[in-house]
């Protein structure tokens, strides 16, 4: 899992920083105006207290600067000085990008799903054997003690058999889930499979003219199983 703060837009980071600063300034007795219109210019934040005024410009460190940003900064400084205000540049520094892995998460999910196969894949054939869980991508992780609450997506590998045990084939289905993991025993306490994408088996609606079973071009018929 990548804790991907760069994915959060610069706009959001600037907004978050401006919110925090506005709160602090207000607490110190300043009157704050966000996105203030001053003459023909927009100032990210203007703070006033008595005769004092401060114009603030926000910039996410390391983010691509729009063309002319340096000129914009100069114009903002000159504007502030015309209004006898201080001019401050707020460099917003995003948190370090982190990578987080839970060792053995595939195995924990696999062990659970072998015991509790999702209904969507059980219904496909006479027998559905869970082969593996792969490509786990965690989108959120909350760890408390030795318990991890996680959610994400992964690939479920299965072997499909007829009711008589004849192998039909193998399939891989993406699925989304949330789970509670016991890190001490490296096992899943609970797994909630939200959705299994079985379109690789059933096909999309425009492939499947009778909207039942695998795509018609494959010629299979689940009623035979």
């Amino acid at each position: 899992m990548k804790v991907e703060d760069r994915g959060i837009s610069s706009v959001y980071l600037e907004f978050a920083a401006a919110e925090e600063l506005a709160g602090n300034l207000t607490g110190d007795g300043w009157t704050v105006e966000r996105e203030a219109q001053v003459d023909d210019n927009r100032v990210d934040l203007v703070a006033r207290r008595g005769d004092e005024a401060i114009f603030y410009e926000f910039k996410v460190a390391g983010s691509a600067s729009p063309a002319g940003w340096a000129d914009h900064l100069i114009a903002q400084q000159q504007l502030a000085r015309r209004y006898n205000a201080a001019f401050r540049l707020v460099m917003v520094r995003p948190p370090r990008q982190m990578e987080l892995e839970i060792e053995g998460v595939e195995r924990m999910l696999f062990d659970w799903l072998v015991q509790h196969p999702p209904m969507e894949v059980e219904d496909i054939a006479g027998h559905t054997l869970i082969d593996d869980v792969d490509s786990v991508d965690l989108t959120s992780v909350r760890i408390s003690g030795t318990t991890a609450e996680v959610s994400g997506e992964a690939i479920l590998g299965v072997t499909l058999q007829t009711g008589g045990g004849e192998e039909i084939g193998s399939e891989s289905f993406p699925f989304t889930f949330s789970a509670t993991l016991d890190l001490a025993t490296a096992s899943a306490e609970d797994v909630d499979v939200h959705e299994v994408d079985t379109t690789s088996w059933y096909g999309t609606d425009d492939q499947d003219f009778d909207s039942d079973g695998p795509p018609d071009p494959k010629g299979a018929d689940i009623n035979e199983f």
Binding site: R6, L13, A16, A17, E20, L21, D28, K59, A61, G62, S65, W69, A70, D71, L73, I74, Q77, Q78, A80, R81, A85, A86, F87, R88, L89, V90, M91, V92, R93, P94, P95, R96, Q97
Partner: protein, 129 residues
Amino acid sequence: MAQYNRLYKAAGGALSNELTYATVYYFVPGYKPSNDADAGNVNKRVLDGLQGAAYDDDHVVRLVTSGVIDYGVNASGPLRVEQLDLTHVPAHALPDLATAIAQGTDHFLYVEVGPLRPAMMVFGIGEQK
């Protein structure tokens, strides 16, 4: 050291032996104490390096403000902000400073040198908000 002389002259600086103030800010993305110079070391090198260009001897420098400005994407810990007061950056210097910040230039120095004026020696700056 000759580099500071050259840059100072290129910026139009003249030699003076008046009492002087100096401001030296070292911009470093992701400051690492083990690798990067600290504020004191940086200003010492700069002030030494300006001898012969800004003044004959750096003993005329009676006030020095120096700082390390850690900027860039890789801050440690949560979202952080650095506030830079640019109100009085001279008009001829602001374009270069703004461009360096905008481009995320790796390691650069902002240096000001000028005559010492009354009340530049400020005390209790920690009390200012």
